[in-house]
């Protein structure tokens, strides 16, 4: 009956006078990757800590798989697992020792704890590093052991707080593959990230958070759509033409044009006018090297959304 993995209503949290979460609403279906996207200090970690019962909200309520996080914390904890943004295993222990210790703390007898630890190390391709101290692991290995430690008992919901921050592209891809495998296996993954690309690639749905407020929610396509149907990019050859080109575009398309390097970009409300604008540029002998008309990148969507919300707060 309950199709939602997570239901958050009116979530409020303050630290001192600073309101970190401001009436946050989220509905997260089961079996997907859900991305919490936001810049530094947006409140992502705070949200994840509340959802995983580590922090008490000041207001509102949270249901995880139908259980209230405050009233039924232990039921919730049986079904979730968290890989924190910071150390979530003991750096002064080896990978194997960490997993064995955590397996024992989850209730495995000593022998089974060792078996389970070895099984996980193998699945995460860490057998060779099993007997090395975690503090000597590379960033990618470090993240893999963090995640392995979170799935000793497979959770229904896995929270990953910025799992790829600071990783090189190859290690990042490895973590992405791990996440994809989990979701195929039926786990719901809640992922926080500052990277739009990551949310775009990985998340089935995305919530954009800024300053503790939910400012947009949907699939990455929906978010791009919500910002404007089409986005025009024109790159020209000669710098001296920049201002003239800008003027022409603004006249023809009656829109505001941004300049970045040699590229002019603008949100286009009426794509049919673009052809005549291009014609005019040709008439004035402004040479173009690159041209595109299409949907905004998630980057643009994000910038647009977050700057709107800042304007909203201040204005």
């Amino acid at each position: 009956m309950d199709e939602l993995a997570i239901e958050v209503k009116d979530l409020v949290k303050s630290f001192g006078k600073e309101r970190v979460l401001d009436r946050l609403h989220l509905s997260i279906p089961k079996g997907i990757v859900y991305g919490l996207l936001g810049p530094n200090g947006a409140g992502k970690t705070t949200t994840v800590r509340i959802l995983s019962t580590l922090l008490k909200p000041d207001g509102g309520h949270v249901k995880i798989l139908g259980y209230d996080t405050e009233k039924h914390a232990s039921e919730v904890r049986k079904r979730i697992s968290l890989t924190g943004q910071y150390a979530s295993v003991d750096e002064d222990l080896t990978g194997l020792e960490n997993l064995v210790m955590l397996a024992r703390l989850l209730g495995y007898p000593k022998k089974q704890a060792k078996e389970r630890a070895r099984e996980l190390l193998e699945a995460f391709r860490l057998e060779d590093a099993a007997k090395r101290l975690v503090k000597n692991y590379s960033g990618g290995m470090r993240r893999r052991i963090d995640i392995a430690a979170s799935i000793i008992v497979a959770p229904e919901i896995l929270f990953l707080d910025e799992p790829t921050t600071g990783l090189d592209p190859e290690s990042r891809n490895e973590v992405w593959e791990v996440i994809r495998a989990f979701v195929k296996g039926g786990t719901t993954v809640i992922l926080t990230t500052q990277y739009l690309e990551e949310a775009d690639q990985l998340a089935d749905r995305i919530a954009v958070i800024n300053r503790g407020k939910l400012i947009a929610e949907g699939t990455s396509n929906e978010l791009k759509d919500s910002v404007g149907l089409s986005r025009l990019h024109i790159t020209i050859v000669s710098e001296k033409d920049l201002n003239e080109a800008k003027k022409i575009l603004e006249q023809k398309l009656t829109i505001e044009v941004q300049i970045e390097g040699m590229t002019l970009s603008a949100q286009v409300n009426n794509p049919s006018l673009v052809a005549s604008a291009l014609g005019e540029l040709a008439n004035r002998q402004i040479e173009i090297t690159d041209f595109s008309l299409g949907r905004p990148t998630l980057d643009e969507a994000f910038l647009n959304l977050t700057s709107d919300s800042i304007g909203g707060v201040e204005g």
């Binding site: 968290l82 209730g107 699945a123 995460f124 799935i151 296996g185």
Partner: protein, 268 residues
């Protein structure tokens, strides 16, 4: 290709895993004890302060101050050893508090909090390993003391009682640091706090000199403090087997243990 292989391998380790029954209090405590023991195994140097330091201290004070304070080193040793025993052990009580502070700051404590365990086992486990540390330190010091000529009036019984008193007292005392470990910003601030408390108290207590030689206002304070009572009673135990005062001090520290346990639960 290899991605497909990874996928099936990863899916296999998460599927069909049955959740075991939650661990008992004892199992959880033992898991945390073995964590502390493993750390000693990886960094044996951390045992210096329960092995090498006590030896240096004892030798240094005996031969450096012995002549000046009591006329002869052996004579001063009779007075010094019980006190320096307590002093050394008290310094070790900070371990678990600073470790806890580390765990909280670095974030691993978050993971412990989501585990289905009796949470104080994180502390009790490593405090039990601390008891091993205390015992090693005391064994070394008492043995060395004997070699240097320490002859307690209380005999074997007196010394054993003194050792037990110190163990219980230290176990209780370490809860102060674990509480600070939760409250304080960094392990450095805990060290500072403990230095500020332990150092002056050690010197104005009767560890090194008889309090009767101190100015009046200091003597009054030393009568009232648990720490001093304990210095005093370990000395009395060792020399005269006088038990009354030791019970007094244990009574008050188990009281404070209880108190701190409650605070601890509230804080977490």
């Amino acid at each position: 290709m290899s991605h497909e292989m990874d996928h099936t391998r990863l899916q296999r380790v998460i599927s069909g895993v049955k959740r075991p029954e939650n661990p008992s209090m004892l199992q959880a405590t033992l898991a945390f004890s073995s964590r502390a023991l493993i750390k000693i195994k990886h960094v044996p140097e951390q045992m210096f302060d329960v092995t090498v330091f006590p030896i240096i201290f004892l030798m240094m004070f005996t031969y450096l101050f012995g002549g000046a304070l009591s006329g002869s080193a052996t004579e001063y040793l009779q007075y010094l050893l019980p006190g320096i025993l307590v002093m050394t052990v008290i310094q070790i009580t900070m371990y678990t508090g600073t470790e806890l502070n580390n765990d909280i700051r670095k974030g691993i404590f978050d993971r412990f909090k989501t585990l289905p365990i009796w949470l104080p086992s994180t502390l009790v486990g490593s405090l039990l390993v601390d008891v091993i540390r205390y015992s090693i330190a005391m064994t070394i010091m008492i043995s060395l003391g004997f070699i240097l000529g320490f002859r307690p009036d209380g005999g074997v019984v007196g010394v054993s009682l003194a050792v037990v008193t110190i163990l219980v007292f230290s176990f209780c005392f370490s809860w102060i640091w674990t509480t600070l470990g939760i409250l304080m910003r960094s392990e450095k601030s805990i060290m500072m706090a403990s230095m500020m408390v332990i150092f002056p108290l050690t010197f104005i207590s009767n560890v090194f000199v008889d309090p009767e030689t101190l100015p009046g206002w200091l003597q009054v304070r030393s009568d009232k403090s648990d720490l001093f009572t304990d210095y005093g009673c370990s000395r009395i135990n060792a020399r005269n087997s006088n038990l009354t005062r030791s019970y007094l001090s244990n009574g008050s520290c188990s009281h404070s243990f209880h108190h701190l346990c409650t605070t601890y639960n509230v804080l977490i």
